[in-house]
């Protein structure tokens, strides 16, 4: 069931009406049933996997909390991580390992022809697995209280607004909210609806429209000119942002209507003025997850310099691999690690040559924002390309630019409209950046009439220009 479907709107209305009508003590159970129903619309069998991951983390959480020795706690944490990752590895990575193992054997001169597994990746598996695991880590690190109520814990893992594509919530933030007594409030309904409409607009009007051009070019990149490949890459950068942040906005909006506060997942990432800043603004829930549960346990930056460089690479490569079992994602992660390190070395150099003060100048800041955007777009080539060879081909064509004509796609109207929509998006982002327009639930300085008209026009835009699509990009992760 997709957010951009009538089925979901009907489902939400029913859940909403029942949720606020029944006694508080039954509400977590209702949300649990609703969340599993929501998930089972894709494939009911996958709900068993989610239930198993939930049960493992619930049990190990209890055991970790009861254990008195660190060794025992570590053992249970290990069990939790191993058992949680098992389905993820099987469904998502098994074929990748099989393929690459076969290639290595063939390189070594052995005959290797292994059959790959006929598996379908359960939607949202990476999201609910990481959310469940974060609980066990937090109990182990005493950052959260152990949850003894299985219903509350199960709904924390399966909460339908953020189940299939995040934000990946922390138990310390979300779990406690299932114990709160939420009352229906018009203010929350309106705030949630506004964010939902904006997210839906980004998804069905911008992302799905850009996808038509992007898919066509990336399917056969060798048929297109450098200019076309450059535009397709730029379009993809906007597409993935609108697709993913659109979903997050809708998730946060739906949760808000029910009285829940989900964490902000995007904060104007294409206006970041450094790579470190970009990762504080892009998929915040995942980057902070890797920060808390991988980077810091590895020692963070409180280690020798070489070890720190290794830590940076490990975090970014794992982050790339989290997105998919393909070398393209690993290279994408590696590129971001390189950017991160070069930025660090650049800052050190500015220090040495005593030019650190220029970092504060407006020109430097603007140039940096543009540079970061270009670098991020370049890395997206590897994220989107169908194969590593395609990615290198596209990168090469863009770097050694040839002035062949630009392909406008099957319809020049669609192309022009796409460009106008991108301009609109960046204009809105600038207004949000300068705190004129509301970002998430922040105060807006816009006159009420303009804000009201804006949402009417957004809804009209969805009706008039919305495309129908079957999935969100991040569902595959």
């Amino acid at each position: 069931m997709l957010f951009n479907s009538w089925e979901f709107i009907l489902f939400l209305c029913i859940v909403f009406a029942i949720y606020f009508s029944i006694a508080f003590r039954f509400r977590p159970f209702l949300l649990l049933v609703a969340s599993y129903l929501f998930y089972m619309f894709w494939k009911w069998e996958f709900a068993v996997i989610m239930l198993a991951v939930t049960a493992v983390n619930y049990y190990t959480g209890l055991k970790i909390a009861k254990s008195t020795s660190k060794k025992q706690q570590k053992t249970y944490l290990g069990i939790s991580v191993f058992a949680s990752l098992l389905p993820l590895v099987y469904f998502k990575y098994a074929n990748f390992f099989i393929d690459n193992f076969a290639v290595i054997l063939q390189e070594l001169g052995f005959k290797a022809n292994f059959a790959t597994l006929a598996v379908i990746l359960p939607v949202g598996i990476s999201f609910f697995t990481f959310q469940a695991m974060s609980y066990s880590f937090d109990v182990y690190n005493k950052k959260t209280l152990v949850e003894t109520n299985f219903i509350n814990f199960a709904v924390f893992v399966a909460f339908f607004p953020q189940l299939v594509a995040g934000p990946i919530e922390r138990s310390s933030h979300l779990l406690a909210q299932f114990r709160e007594k939420h009352h229906f409030k018009f203010k929350l309904l309106i705030e949630g609806s506004k964010l939902f409409i904006w997210g839906l607009f980004k998804k069905v009007v911008i992302a799905d429209r850009l996808a038509i051009y992007v898919d066509r070019i990336f399917e056969n990149p060798e048929l297109y000119s450098s200019a076309t490949l450059t535009i397709a890459t730029l379009f993809f950068a906007v597409q993935i942002y609108c697709d993913f942040s659109g979903y997050s906005d809708m998730a946060i909006g739906v949760a808000r209507m029910l009285g829940f506060r989900l964490m902000q997942n995007f904060n104007l990432p294409y206006l970041a003025n450094s790579i470190a800043d970009f990762w504080k603004r892009w998929h915040i829930s995942l980057s902070s997850w890797f920060g808390d549960y991988l980077y810091i346990p590895l020692g963070g930056n409180r280690v020798p310099y070489i070890r720190w460089i290794i830590n940076i690479f490990v975090v970014f490569l794992v982050s790339g691999f989290w997105h998919g079992a393909n070398w393209t994602f690993i290279v994408w992660g590696g590129l971001h690690a390189l950017y991160y390190l070069f930025e660090n070395w650049g800052d050190k150099l500015l220090n040495v040559v005593k030019l650190i003060h220029i970092k504060k100048s407006r020109i430097y800041q603007t140039l940096k924002i543009v540079t970061i955007f270009v670098l991020v777009c370049f890395a997206w080539i590897f994220f989107r390309a169908n194969s590593i060879n395609d990615a290198f081909y596209i990168a090469q064509e863009i770097i050694f630019f040839k002035t062949d004509p630009l392909y406008l796609g099957a319809s020049s109207v669609t192309f022009i409209l796409s460009v106008l929509l991108i301009i609109l998006l960046f204009a809105v982002q600038l207004l949000q950046y300068f705190k004129v327009a509301s970002l998430y639930f922040s105060e807006s300085k816009m006159p009420v009439v303009i804000e009201f008209s804006w949402y009417v026009l957004l809804l009209l835009g969805i009706a008039l220009l919305g495309m129908s699509s079957n999935a969100f990009i991040y569902f595959q992760f």
Binding site: F20, F184, K185, F186, L189, I190, V413, T414, L460, L464
Partner: protein, 306 residues
């Protein structure tokens, strides 16, 4: 009930309800206005309200093949061009009924034909979507209701702006600007076409009796209304015509048989000599602006001889 209690005790209730009602009214008013504006443009693009004597009906093949502006200039009367991408024989029957409802002064229908028109497969499967803007027309409403998924139908029924795809919006804008130009400039890539045919990438001809029957019904409707029918074969490139030569000729025979059976039907075939002039084609079945101009000139000469 907790919900009702919450609503009653919410101090923001009155203001919120006012905002929500105003929001919905504003949205539906704007939607209504956009619907009218787009529909007017589209009707102008199709030439519904111009009391045209001649109407062109067909899919993209005819759309790109004939220049209605040139026809109007040279013939001295209005021409309606009700063409849309991917419309099949059943859609065209509906289009003709729709056109006749809008304009009772039509004397001649130029009906675009080609060797694949009875095949059915290969044309748009959701061609009913092309008729969404005209849901207020009873016959169109019945057709769309049958063809469209229920949720899609009711969404279009309720919200007028959802009835327009990008193509229809573009046509509507063209209608306001009176632009019917063929924008498909360029020439067909013969090398790639030959490669595609060798690889088996071509649309086979398969004359489905059901579709032939629909054309028969269409012609009978036009006969009842004393309207002359010209079955016009805008050329398709010789390379694809020759691929299934026997079936191709068989289809042409069907068109000829219609002229024998109905005295109001003529078959105007421009395959010779134009199908061999590759520089007239944008792709194997569509003409470029040069091709459009050549074929329109020839059609005008034919019409002047009537």
């Amino acid at each position: 009930m907790g919900l009702l209690k919450d609503i009653k005790s919410d101090g923001y209730k009155n203001k919120a309800l006012r905002i929500m009602v105003l929001f919905l009214i504003s949205f539906f008013m704007l939607d209504f206005f956009v619907g009218i504006v787009l529909k007017n443009g589209l009707e102008s693009y199709y030439g519904f309200n111009e009391n045209a004597k001649i109407a062109l009906v067909g899919h993209s093949h005819l759309m790109l093949g004939i220049d209605k502006v040139q026809m109007e200039q040279d013939l001295g009367y209005k021409v309606a061009k009700y063409t849309s991408e991917g419309v099949n024989v059943a859609n065209r029957k509906l289009m003709i009924e729709h056109l006749l409802n809008k304009n009772n002064k039509i004397e001649t229908i130029i009906y675009g034909v080609d060797a694949w028109m009875f095949t059915g497969e290969g044309l748009s499967e959701n061609s009913h979507a092309l008729f969404y803007p005209f849901l207020s027309d009873a016959s169109i409403n019945i057709f769309v209701k049958k063809a469209a998924p229920e949720s899609e139908y009711w969404t279009r029924k309720l919200i007028k702006s959802t009835r327009y795809s990008e193509g229809l919006i573009s046509s509507s804008i063209r209608g306001y600007f009176k632009k019917w130009d063929n924008l498909k400039s360029g020439t067909v890539d013969i090398e790639r076409l030959n490669e595609n045919i060798l690889q088996g990438n071509f649309r086979s001809i398969n004359n489905n009796p059901k579709n032939i029957k629909i054309l028969t019904e269409t012609i009978e409707i036009l006969k009842k209304n004393n309207i002359k029918v010209i079955l016009l074969y805008v050329p398709t490139i010789d390379i694809v015509n020759q691929f299934e030569k026997y079936k191709f000729q068989e289809t042409l025979e069907i068109f000829i048989n219609f002229t024998k059976k109905y005295d109001n039907v003529d078959f105007v075939n421009f395959l010779e000599p134009f199908s061999h002039q590759h520089d007239l084609f944008f792709d194997p079945i569509h003409l470029n602006p040069k091709g459009q101009s050549v074929i329109t000139d020839t059609l005008i000469k034919v019409l002047n001889n009537y």
